[in-house]
């Protein structure tokens, strides 16, 4: 669900309604744009191997690893672009990395 912002930019808006120059006039609206479909590689979280050390969470460039009550959950695939940095930093091999569509 899209958060209420100063301006929610939507695909059904006319040019007259949008901020000029493509400016984003309030912070955090990257969440509104589902950019996960660019992904060609997909990280797979293996909860059995995961020690909840959270080393993966701060390195994710897209904030696509949601954390609740100090514990990570499964990936936010609406925003994960499959860069694989989390896979690299995980000391416990708790994230698999597979080709998308396989």
């Amino acid at each position: 669900m899209t958060k209420e912002r100063k301006m929610n930019i939507r695909e059904d808006m006319s040019w007259r309604e949008m901020p000029q120059g493509g400016h984003i006039i309030d912070a955090g609206n990257a969440e509104d744009f589902k950019t996960g479909d660019w992904r060609s590689m997909r990280p797979v979280w293996l909860p059995d191997k995961c020690k909840q050390c959270l080393l993966c969470w701060p390195v994710c460039p897209d904030m696509a690893i949601p954390v609740e009550n100090g514990k990570r959950k499964d990936f936010d695939f609406d925003h994960c672009k499959g860069c694989g940095i989390c896979v690299e930093v995980c000391p416990f091999k708790a994230i698999d990395f597979v080709e998308e569509g396989k």
């Binding site: 930019i9 695909e11 808006m13 006319s14 040019w15 007259r16 949008m18 901020p19 000029q20 120059g21 493509g22 400016h23 984003i24 006039i25 309030d26 912070a27």
Partner: protein, 393 residues
């Protein structure tokens, strides 16, 4: 009371910049625009302005620094010529599409190659589709007046576009002429304080500028940009009216010189208009109904107004100080003739490309253009639509 002075075009522009006192000037020297940042940096060194002067390492950097400064919320100006403008190319489009009201003097000089430092309009004509408003100036007075008006036009909330003020290298930039300056405090009152709606240093309202714009949005942003250019047509006249009240000097989209009863005329830009007016006067002494239109506003293009202004002529020559190498006339010709298709269908139009690389344009050459037009008016026949004036055949 206006201040009477004697200044070159570049001095006049530097004085206007001192009076405007922009927050940031980022510039790189290039002939014949060099004097503008040179004189202006003296004002900075003397403490006569509060401007942050950024001496950059190239024109690409100059325009980039201007974009950064303007995006931050600073009133920003610069100046360049020829290759300098060419080096700014990609950033010109970004300034316009980010809707940053930067004001830049373009001191027109031929583009290389072959390398040449003298005047023609190939530099600014090449930037005609970059999304910048373009004002053209016949002399130092117009350069000064246009620069001051440019601030108001650029920053207007319905416009928010950068403006180029173009005048002829060496001919206007370095020639000293009489000029009437406006008092400092009146200039300040006229331009007012810069209050951008959105800017990066507004810490209470954080924003992002220049994000990736995908197919679902890019077109809408370009459409809005096109509308801003249309709005500029109205704003340019509103600002001109206010400027006339302040100075008594009248500006519009173009100047019509003895056009009322004219049968033949030329459309021309910048300093050559002065030479051409002399020729019109000579023809008028002989009872020949000659006139001319000097275009001031090329972007936005006054399509309907210019087309209608030519409708009563029998023949018109559109004179370009730049070739577009289309094989079908210069850029001004192409656009004016397009306007005439709707509004001046019965007027014969011919193209003359002249004065490239600073080739001097003499009255007898302009006279020969009018003679060609009179021949077309008499016979109704156009022998040659695309012509070069003053080149050795």
């Amino acid at each position: 009371m206006a201040i009477k002075d004697k200044l070159s075009g570049n001095e006049a522009i530097a004085v206007a910049m001192r009076q405007i006192d922009p927050d940031v000037v980022a510039a790189f020297p290039i002939t014949p625009s060099t004097e503008v940042p040179q004189y202006f940096s003296q004002f900075v060194a003397n403490g006569q302005v509060h401007t942050e002067f950024v001496a950059v390492e190239s024109e690409h950097s100059a325009m980039s620094a201007c974009i950064g400064a303007e995006a931050a919320g600073a009133r920003t100006m610069t100046a360049t010529s020829s290759q300098g403008l060419a080096l700014m190319w990609e950033m010109l489009y970004i300034a316009a599409s980010l809707r940053l009201p930067i004001v830049m003097s373009v001191i027109n000089r031929a583009l290389s190659g072959p390398i040449n430092i003298h005047n023609d309009h190939s530099d600014s004509m090449g930037a005609r589709d970059s999304g910048w408003i373009q004002l053209y100036c016949e002399n130092n007075q117009e350069a000064y007046d246009n620069l001051i008006q440019a601030i108001r036009i650029a920053e207007h909330k319905d416009v928010q576009l950068p403006v180029m003020v173009c005048y002829d290298g060496f001919i206007t930039s370095h020639a000293v002429e009489n000029i009437e300056l406006i008092e400092d405090e009146k200039v300040k009152a006229f331009i007012g304080e810069y209050r951008p709606q959105h800017y990066l240093l507004d810490r209470d309202n954080p924003i992002s500028m220049g994000p990736l714009d995908m197919p679902a949005y890019y077109f809408e942003h370009k459409r809005a940009q096109a509308e801003a250019m249309k709005n500029a047509k109205r704003v340019i006249l509103e600002v001109a009216q206010e400027f006339e009240k302040l100075t008594g000097r009248k500006y519009g989209y173009f100047e019509e010189y003895k056009m009322e009863d004219a049968e033949v005329g030329i459309v021309i830009m910048n300093s050559t208009a002065g030479t051409a007016k002399f020729v019109v006067n000579e023809l008028r002494k002989q009872g020949i109904k000659a006139g001319l239109i000097k275009l001031r506003v090329f972007r936005p293009f006054p399509f309907e107004e210019l087309g209608k202004a030519l409708s009563h002529l029998k023949a018109v020559a559109i004179m370009d100080k730049a070739d577009s190498f289309s094989g079908a006339g210069g850029p001004l010709f192409t656009e004016v003739r397009s306007a005439m298709f709707d509004y001046a269908k019965d007027t014969k139009a011919v193209s003359y490309i002249y004065g490239l690389g600073g080739r001097d344009v003499r009255p007898d050459e302009i006279m020969s253009v009018y003679q060609d037009l009179l021949e077309i008016a008499r016979t109704g026949q156009v022998k040659s639509t695309f012509n070069y004036l003053g080149v050795r055949e």
